[in-house]
Protein backbone atom coordinates (compact mmCIF):
# COMPACT_ATOMS: atom_id res chain seq x y z
CA UNK A 1 0.00 0.00 0.00
CA UNK A 2 2.79 2.35 0.94
CA UNK A 3 4.55 1.62 -2.34
CA UNK A 4 1.39 2.51 -4.26
CA UNK A 5 1.15 5.83 -2.35
CA UNK A 6 4.81 6.57 -3.05
CA UNK A 7 4.43 5.88 -6.77
CA UNK A 8 1.34 8.09 -6.82
CA UNK A 9 3.23 10.90 -5.04
CA UNK A 10 6.26 10.71 -7.32
CA UNK A 11 4.26 10.70 -10.53
CA UNK A 12 1.80 13.44 -9.55
CA UNK A 13 4.46 15.74 -8.04
CA UNK A 14 6.57 15.25 -11.18
CA UNK A 15 3.59 16.26 -13.29
CA UNK A 16 3.24 19.35 -11.07
CA UNK A 17 6.93 20.15 -11.50
CA UNK A 18 6.46 19.86 -15.27
CA UNK A 19 3.77 22.53 -15.15
CA UNK A 20 6.09 24.78 -13.13
CA UNK A 21 8.76 24.30 -15.77
CA UNK A 22 6.30 24.99 -18.60
CA UNK A 23 4.98 28.07 -16.78
CA UNK A 24 8.49 29.41 -16.25
CA UNK A 25 9.36 28.89 -19.91
CA UNK A 26 6.15 30.71 -20.80
CA UNK A 27 7.01 33.56 -18.42
CA UNK A 28 10.38 33.98 -20.10
CA UNK A 29 9.32 33.46 -23.72
CA UNK A 30 5.84 34.94 -24.13
CA UNK A 31 5.74 38.32 -25.88
CA UNK A 32 3.60 40.55 -23.62
CA UNK A 33 2.32 40.97 -20.08
CA UNK A 34 -1.10 39.41 -20.58
CA UNK A 35 0.18 36.16 -22.10
CA UNK A 36 2.88 35.98 -19.44
CA UNK A 37 0.18 36.26 -16.78
CA UNK A 38 -1.64 33.43 -18.52
CA UNK A 39 1.46 31.24 -18.20
CA UNK A 40 1.83 32.12 -14.51
CA UNK A 41 -1.76 31.29 -13.58
CA UNK A 42 -1.40 27.84 -15.12
CA UNK A 43 1.49 27.25 -12.71
CA UNK A 44 -0.58 28.41 -9.74
CA UNK A 45 -3.61 26.34 -10.57
CA UNK A 46 -2.28 23.12 -12.01
CA UNK A 47 1.35 22.95 -10.88
CA UNK A 48 0.73 23.70 -7.23
CA UNK A 49 -2.57 21.77 -7.31
CA UNK A 50 -0.83 18.65 -8.56
CA UNK A 51 2.01 18.99 -6.04
CA UNK A 52 -0.48 19.35 -3.17
CA UNK A 53 -2.49 16.41 -4.50
CA UNK A 54 0.67 14.33 -4.75
CA UNK A 55 1.74 15.17 -1.20
CA UNK A 56 -1.64 14.37 0.37
CA UNK A 57 -0.89 10.62 0.87
CA UNK A 58 2.35 11.58 2.66
CA UNK A 59 0.75 13.75 5.35
CA UNK A 60 0.64 12.53 8.91
CA UNK A 61 -3.08 12.97 9.40
CA UNK A 62 -6.26 14.70 8.39
CA UNK A 63 -5.10 18.08 9.76
CA UNK A 64 -1.87 17.99 7.80
CA UNK A 65 -3.81 17.23 4.63
CA UNK A 66 -6.32 20.02 5.34
CA UNK A 67 -3.48 22.51 5.89
CA UNK A 68 -2.00 21.60 2.49
CA UNK A 69 -5.36 22.03 0.77
CA UNK A 70 -5.81 25.32 2.65
CA UNK A 71 -2.46 26.57 1.35
CA UNK A 72 -3.47 25.64 -2.19
CA UNK A 73 -6.80 27.46 -1.87
CA UNK A 74 -5.11 30.60 -0.49
CA UNK A 75 -2.56 30.63 -3.30
CA UNK A 76 -5.41 30.14 -5.79
CA UNK A 77 -7.26 33.10 -4.33
CA UNK A 78 -4.29 35.47 -4.15
CA UNK A 79 -2.93 34.36 -7.53
CA UNK A 80 -6.23 34.87 -9.33
CA UNK A 81 -6.80 38.28 -7.78
CA UNK A 82 -3.28 39.60 -8.24
CA UNK A 83 -3.45 38.48 -11.88
CA UNK A 84 -6.72 40.37 -12.32
CA UNK A 85 -5.21 43.51 -10.77
CA UNK A 86 -2.06 43.39 -12.89
CA UNK A 87 -4.09 42.74 -16.04
CA UNK A 88 -6.36 45.65 -15.14
CA UNK A 89 -3.36 47.93 -14.70
CA UNK A 90 -1.91 46.80 -18.04
CA UNK A 91 -5.21 47.50 -19.83
CA UNK A 92 -5.46 50.93 -18.27
CA UNK A 93 -1.92 52.24 -18.44
CA UNK A 94 -0.27 50.02 -21.05
CA UNK A 95 2.52 47.54 -20.34
CA UNK A 96 5.02 50.15 -19.11
CA UNK A 97 2.68 52.43 -17.14
Amino acid sequence: MKLAFDIFTISVVSAGAFFFLAGTVGLLRFPDSLTRLHALTKVDNLGLGLIVLGLLPQTSGLFGALKLVGIWLLVQLSGAIVTQLIAGAVRQHGPHG
Binding site: L74, L77, S78, I81, Q84, L85, G88
Partner: protein, 313 residues
Protein backbone atom coordinates in the same frame (compact mmCIF):
# COMPACT_ATOMS: atom_id res chain seq x y z
CA UNK B 1 26.18 13.61 -2.99
CA UNK B 2 22.56 13.31 -1.92
CA UNK B 3 19.57 14.93 -3.57
CA UNK B 4 19.13 17.35 -0.67
CA UNK B 5 22.71 18.63 -0.92
CA UNK B 6 22.17 19.26 -4.65
CA UNK B 7 19.06 21.25 -3.66
CA UNK B 8 21.05 23.18 -1.05
CA UNK B 9 23.83 24.04 -3.51
CA UNK B 10 21.23 25.20 -6.03
CA UNK B 11 19.64 27.35 -3.32
CA UNK B 12 22.98 28.96 -2.43
CA UNK B 13 23.74 29.71 -6.09
CA UNK B 14 20.28 31.25 -6.52
CA UNK B 15 20.68 33.42 -3.41
CA UNK B 16 24.07 34.68 -4.54
CA UNK B 17 22.70 35.43 -8.01
CA UNK B 18 19.64 37.27 -6.69
CA UNK B 19 21.79 39.16 -4.18
CA UNK B 20 24.14 40.26 -6.95
CA UNK B 21 21.24 41.23 -9.21
CA UNK B 22 19.77 43.57 -6.55
CA UNK B 23 23.09 45.45 -6.58
CA UNK B 24 23.71 45.41 -10.32
CA UNK B 25 20.21 46.25 -11.53
CA UNK B 26 19.74 49.95 -12.32
CA UNK B 27 16.06 50.39 -11.61
CA UNK B 28 14.92 50.70 -7.99
CA UNK B 29 11.66 48.80 -8.58
CA UNK B 30 13.47 45.76 -10.02
CA UNK B 31 15.96 45.86 -7.14
CA UNK B 32 13.13 45.78 -4.59
CA UNK B 33 11.46 42.82 -6.32
CA UNK B 34 14.86 41.09 -6.26
CA UNK B 35 15.13 41.86 -2.54
CA UNK B 36 11.73 40.27 -1.83
CA UNK B 37 12.71 37.11 -3.73
CA UNK B 38 16.02 37.14 -1.83
CA UNK B 39 14.09 37.23 1.47
CA UNK B 40 11.88 34.31 0.44
CA UNK B 41 14.92 32.24 -0.64
CA UNK B 42 16.65 33.08 2.65
CA UNK B 43 13.62 31.87 4.55
CA UNK B 44 13.83 28.53 2.68
CA UNK B 45 17.50 28.40 3.74
CA UNK B 46 16.60 28.95 7.39
CA UNK B 47 14.01 26.20 7.03
CA UNK B 48 16.68 23.87 5.64
CA UNK B 49 18.77 24.69 8.73
CA UNK B 50 15.74 23.60 10.84
CA UNK B 51 15.33 27.15 12.17
CA UNK B 52 11.62 27.34 11.42
CA UNK B 53 11.04 30.34 13.73
CA UNK B 54 13.67 32.36 11.89
CA UNK B 55 12.31 31.17 8.53
CA UNK B 56 8.83 32.43 9.40
CA UNK B 57 10.17 35.78 10.58
CA UNK B 58 12.35 36.16 7.50
CA UNK B 59 9.42 35.44 5.19
CA UNK B 60 7.10 37.79 7.08
CA UNK B 61 9.46 40.68 7.90
CA UNK B 62 12.42 40.27 5.53
CA UNK B 63 10.41 39.36 2.45
CA UNK B 64 6.95 40.79 3.02
CA UNK B 65 7.02 43.81 5.32
CA UNK B 66 10.40 45.27 4.34
CA UNK B 67 9.51 44.69 0.69
CA UNK B 68 6.32 46.69 1.16
CA UNK B 69 8.20 49.52 2.92
CA UNK B 70 10.73 49.64 0.09
CA UNK B 71 8.03 49.60 -2.59
CA UNK B 72 6.52 52.61 -0.82
CA UNK B 73 9.92 54.31 -0.90
CA UNK B 74 10.26 53.60 -4.64
CA UNK B 75 6.81 55.08 -5.27
CA UNK B 76 7.80 58.23 -3.35
CA UNK B 77 11.04 58.50 -5.29
CA UNK B 78 9.08 58.28 -8.54
CA UNK B 79 6.85 61.14 -7.44
CA UNK B 80 9.96 63.20 -6.80
CA UNK B 81 11.44 62.27 -10.18
CA UNK B 82 11.75 65.88 -11.28
CA UNK B 83 14.41 66.51 -8.67
CA UNK B 84 17.77 64.88 -9.08
CA UNK B 85 17.59 62.08 -6.51
CA UNK B 86 20.90 60.54 -7.52
CA UNK B 87 23.49 60.74 -4.77
CA UNK B 88 26.95 62.10 -5.46
CA UNK B 89 29.89 59.85 -6.34
CA UNK B 90 31.76 60.21 -2.99
CA UNK B 91 28.63 59.21 -1.07
CA UNK B 92 28.12 56.18 -3.25
CA UNK B 93 31.77 55.22 -2.89
CA UNK B 94 31.56 55.55 0.90
CA UNK B 95 28.41 53.38 0.96
CA UNK B 96 30.13 50.77 -1.20
CA UNK B 97 33.26 50.69 0.97
CA UNK B 98 31.25 50.43 4.21
CA UNK B 99 29.08 47.62 2.80
CA UNK B 100 32.18 45.76 1.59
CA UNK B 101 33.76 46.12 5.05
CA UNK B 102 30.67 44.72 6.76
CA UNK B 103 30.51 41.84 4.26
CA UNK B 104 34.23 41.11 4.82
CA UNK B 105 33.74 41.15 8.59
CA UNK B 106 30.81 38.75 8.38
CA UNK B 107 32.74 36.51 6.00
CA UNK B 108 35.75 36.27 8.36
CA UNK B 109 33.46 35.53 11.29
CA UNK B 110 31.78 32.70 9.41
CA UNK B 111 34.79 31.28 7.57
CA UNK B 112 37.01 31.13 10.67
CA UNK B 113 34.77 29.74 13.43
CA UNK B 114 36.27 28.99 16.87
CA UNK B 115 37.36 25.40 17.51
CA UNK B 116 34.63 24.82 20.06
CA UNK B 117 31.53 26.83 19.24
CA UNK B 118 30.26 28.33 22.52
CA UNK B 119 26.65 27.37 23.09
CA UNK B 120 24.13 27.53 25.90
CA UNK B 121 21.62 25.38 24.00
CA UNK B 122 21.93 22.27 26.24
CA UNK B 123 21.25 24.39 29.35
CA UNK B 124 18.22 25.94 27.68
CA UNK B 125 16.80 22.55 26.76
CA UNK B 126 17.43 21.28 30.31
CA UNK B 127 15.55 24.12 31.99
CA UNK B 128 12.88 24.73 29.35
CA UNK B 129 10.30 22.57 31.15
CA UNK B 130 10.29 25.01 34.11
CA UNK B 131 8.79 27.74 31.96
CA UNK B 132 6.01 25.48 30.68
CA UNK B 133 6.92 26.35 27.08
CA UNK B 134 7.58 23.74 24.41
CA UNK B 135 9.34 25.95 21.88
CA UNK B 136 12.97 26.62 22.90
CA UNK B 137 13.04 29.77 20.74
CA UNK B 138 10.12 31.27 22.67
CA UNK B 139 11.87 30.16 25.86
CA UNK B 140 15.03 32.08 24.99
CA UNK B 141 13.07 35.12 23.81
CA UNK B 142 10.81 35.45 26.84
CA UNK B 143 12.74 33.83 29.69
CA UNK B 144 16.49 34.13 29.15
CA UNK B 145 16.69 37.18 26.87
CA UNK B 146 13.47 38.89 27.89
CA UNK B 147 15.16 42.30 28.13
CA UNK B 148 16.34 42.07 24.51
CA UNK B 149 12.84 41.10 23.40
CA UNK B 150 11.30 44.00 25.32
CA UNK B 151 13.75 46.52 23.86
CA UNK B 152 13.17 45.11 20.38
CA UNK B 153 9.48 46.01 20.64
CA UNK B 154 10.28 49.46 21.96
CA UNK B 155 12.62 50.00 19.00
CA UNK B 156 9.67 49.33 16.71
CA UNK B 157 7.78 52.23 18.29
CA UNK B 158 10.87 54.44 18.05
CA UNK B 159 11.11 53.61 14.34
CA UNK B 160 7.47 54.60 13.91
CA UNK B 161 8.14 57.89 15.73
CA UNK B 162 10.98 58.44 13.27
CA UNK B 163 8.60 57.98 10.34
CA UNK B 164 5.97 60.24 11.92
CA UNK B 165 8.51 62.97 12.60
CA UNK B 166 8.93 63.36 8.82
CA UNK B 167 5.50 65.02 8.76
CA UNK B 168 5.38 68.81 8.33
CA UNK B 169 3.93 70.71 11.30
CA UNK B 170 0.57 71.52 9.72
CA UNK B 171 -0.37 67.84 9.20
CA UNK B 172 1.00 66.56 12.51
CA UNK B 173 -1.49 64.11 13.99
CA UNK B 174 -3.12 63.77 10.58
CA UNK B 175 -3.78 60.84 8.28
CA UNK B 176 -0.88 58.75 6.92
CA UNK B 177 -0.33 59.04 3.18
CA UNK B 178 -0.96 55.39 2.39
CA UNK B 179 -1.63 55.04 -1.33
CA UNK B 180 -5.24 53.87 -1.41
CA UNK B 181 -6.37 52.15 -4.58
CA UNK B 182 -7.86 54.98 -6.61
CA UNK B 183 -10.77 53.39 -8.46
CA UNK B 184 -12.91 51.08 -6.37
CA UNK B 185 -12.02 47.75 -7.93
CA UNK B 186 -14.41 44.91 -7.34
CA UNK B 187 -11.66 42.27 -7.39
CA UNK B 188 -9.57 44.00 -4.73
CA UNK B 189 -12.67 44.65 -2.61
CA UNK B 190 -13.52 40.96 -2.91
CA UNK B 191 -10.06 39.95 -1.66
CA UNK B 192 -10.19 42.49 1.15
CA UNK B 193 -13.53 41.07 2.27
CA UNK B 194 -12.60 37.41 1.92
CA UNK B 195 -9.03 37.23 3.21
CA UNK B 196 -8.98 39.13 6.55
CA UNK B 197 -11.15 36.62 8.48
CA UNK B 198 -8.78 33.85 7.39
CA UNK B 199 -5.73 36.00 8.07
CA UNK B 200 -6.87 37.01 11.55
CA UNK B 201 -7.42 33.36 12.50
CA UNK B 202 -3.97 32.49 11.11
CA UNK B 203 -2.41 35.37 13.10
CA UNK B 204 -4.04 34.25 16.37
CA UNK B 205 -2.99 30.67 15.65
CA UNK B 206 0.62 31.68 14.98
CA UNK B 207 0.74 33.69 18.18
CA UNK B 208 -0.87 30.93 20.28
CA UNK B 209 1.16 28.07 18.83
CA UNK B 210 4.38 30.09 19.35
CA UNK B 211 4.63 28.85 22.95
CA UNK B 212 4.84 25.25 21.82
CA UNK B 213 5.97 25.21 18.22
CA UNK B 214 7.48 27.67 15.72
CA UNK B 215 5.49 30.89 15.54
CA UNK B 216 5.05 33.84 17.83
CA UNK B 217 4.17 37.49 18.26
CA UNK B 218 6.24 38.90 15.40
CA UNK B 219 4.96 36.46 12.79
CA UNK B 220 1.35 36.79 13.95
CA UNK B 221 1.65 40.57 14.16
CA UNK B 222 2.94 40.79 10.61
CA UNK B 223 -0.05 38.82 9.30
CA UNK B 224 -2.38 41.13 11.26
CA UNK B 225 -0.64 44.18 9.79
CA UNK B 226 -0.96 42.76 6.28
CA UNK B 227 -4.70 42.20 6.72
CA UNK B 228 -5.19 45.72 8.08
CA UNK B 229 -3.22 47.23 5.19
CA UNK B 230 -5.23 45.19 2.67
CA UNK B 231 -8.51 46.49 4.08
CA UNK B 232 -7.21 50.09 4.04
CA UNK B 233 -5.73 49.90 0.52
CA UNK B 234 -8.97 48.45 -0.84
CA UNK B 235 -10.75 51.44 0.72
CA UNK B 236 -13.08 49.35 2.90
CA UNK B 237 -11.84 51.15 6.02
CA UNK B 238 -10.36 54.61 6.01
CA UNK B 239 -6.80 55.19 7.21
CA UNK B 240 -7.04 56.51 10.80
CA UNK B 241 -5.31 59.73 11.78
CA UNK B 242 -2.34 59.11 14.05
CA UNK B 243 -3.72 61.24 16.87
CA UNK B 244 -6.51 58.73 17.59
CA UNK B 245 -6.24 57.67 21.26
CA UNK B 246 -7.20 54.03 20.53
CA UNK B 247 -4.44 53.81 17.95
CA UNK B 248 -1.78 55.06 20.34
CA UNK B 249 -3.11 52.80 23.09
CA UNK B 250 -2.87 49.73 20.85
CA UNK B 251 0.67 50.76 19.89
CA UNK B 252 1.97 50.74 23.45
CA UNK B 253 -0.24 48.09 25.06
CA UNK B 254 2.16 45.22 24.27
CA UNK B 255 5.40 46.77 25.56
CA UNK B 256 3.47 48.29 28.51
CA UNK B 257 2.09 44.93 29.64
CA UNK B 258 5.51 43.35 29.11
CA UNK B 259 7.11 46.06 31.24
CA UNK B 260 4.41 45.82 33.92
CA UNK B 261 4.84 42.05 34.24
CA UNK B 262 8.62 42.55 34.26
CA UNK B 263 8.38 45.10 37.09
CA UNK B 264 5.97 42.86 38.99
CA UNK B 265 8.64 40.17 38.73
CA UNK B 266 10.88 42.27 40.99
CA UNK B 267 8.35 41.84 43.79
CA UNK B 268 6.72 38.47 43.05
CA UNK B 269 9.77 36.65 41.70
CA UNK B 270 13.43 37.35 42.19
CA UNK B 271 14.32 39.84 39.50
CA UNK B 272 13.18 42.26 36.83
CA UNK B 273 11.51 40.31 33.97
CA UNK B 274 11.43 37.14 36.07
CA UNK B 275 8.16 35.22 36.28
CA UNK B 276 6.70 33.80 39.50
CA UNK B 277 7.08 30.01 39.29
CA UNK B 278 4.04 28.20 37.96
CA UNK B 279 2.67 31.29 36.18
CA UNK B 280 5.40 31.63 33.58
CA UNK B 281 3.50 30.20 30.63
CA UNK B 282 0.25 32.08 31.33
CA UNK B 283 2.13 35.37 31.68
CA UNK B 284 4.21 34.76 28.56
CA UNK B 285 1.10 33.98 26.50
CA UNK B 286 -0.54 37.18 27.81
CA UNK B 287 2.57 39.16 26.80
CA UNK B 288 2.66 37.48 23.38
CA UNK B 289 -0.98 38.31 22.62
CA UNK B 290 -0.68 41.96 23.57
CA UNK B 291 2.62 42.19 21.68
CA UNK B 292 0.97 40.70 18.58
CA UNK B 293 -1.61 43.50 18.61
CA UNK B 294 1.02 46.21 19.12
CA UNK B 295 3.35 44.80 16.47
CA UNK B 296 0.46 44.53 14.01
CA UNK B 297 -0.52 48.17 14.51
CA UNK B 298 3.10 49.40 14.49
CA UNK B 299 3.99 47.57 11.28
CA UNK B 300 0.77 48.68 9.60
CA UNK B 301 1.47 52.31 10.47
CA UNK B 302 5.11 52.01 9.40
CA UNK B 303 3.93 50.86 5.98
CA UNK B 304 1.26 53.59 5.88
CA UNK B 305 3.99 56.22 6.15
CA UNK B 306 4.13 59.69 7.67
CA UNK B 307 0.95 61.79 8.01
CA UNK B 308 0.17 63.74 4.84
CA UNK B 309 -3.23 65.33 5.24
CA UNK B 310 -5.39 66.52 8.08
CA UNK B 311 -8.92 65.61 7.04
CA UNK B 312 -10.50 63.13 4.66
CA UNK B 313 -10.66 64.62 1.16
Amino acid sequence: MTISSIFDIGLVVLILAIGASTIVVREAFAAVIGFVVYGLLLSITWFRRSAVDVALTEAAIGGGMTGMLMLGAVARLRLAEGNDTRTSLPTRLAVGVMSALIAAGLATAILTPPEVIPTLAPMVMENLAQSGLGNPVAGVLFVYRALDTLLEKVVLILALLGVWSLAPDRVWGGIPGLRVYAQPSTTLTFLAQLLPPVGIVVAIYMCWVGAKEPGGAFQGGTVLAAMWLLVMIAGLKSVPSISQPWLRLLLVVGPAIFLAIGLAGMVLANAFLDYPSGYAKALIVAIEFSLTLSIGVALGLLAAGPPERVRQP
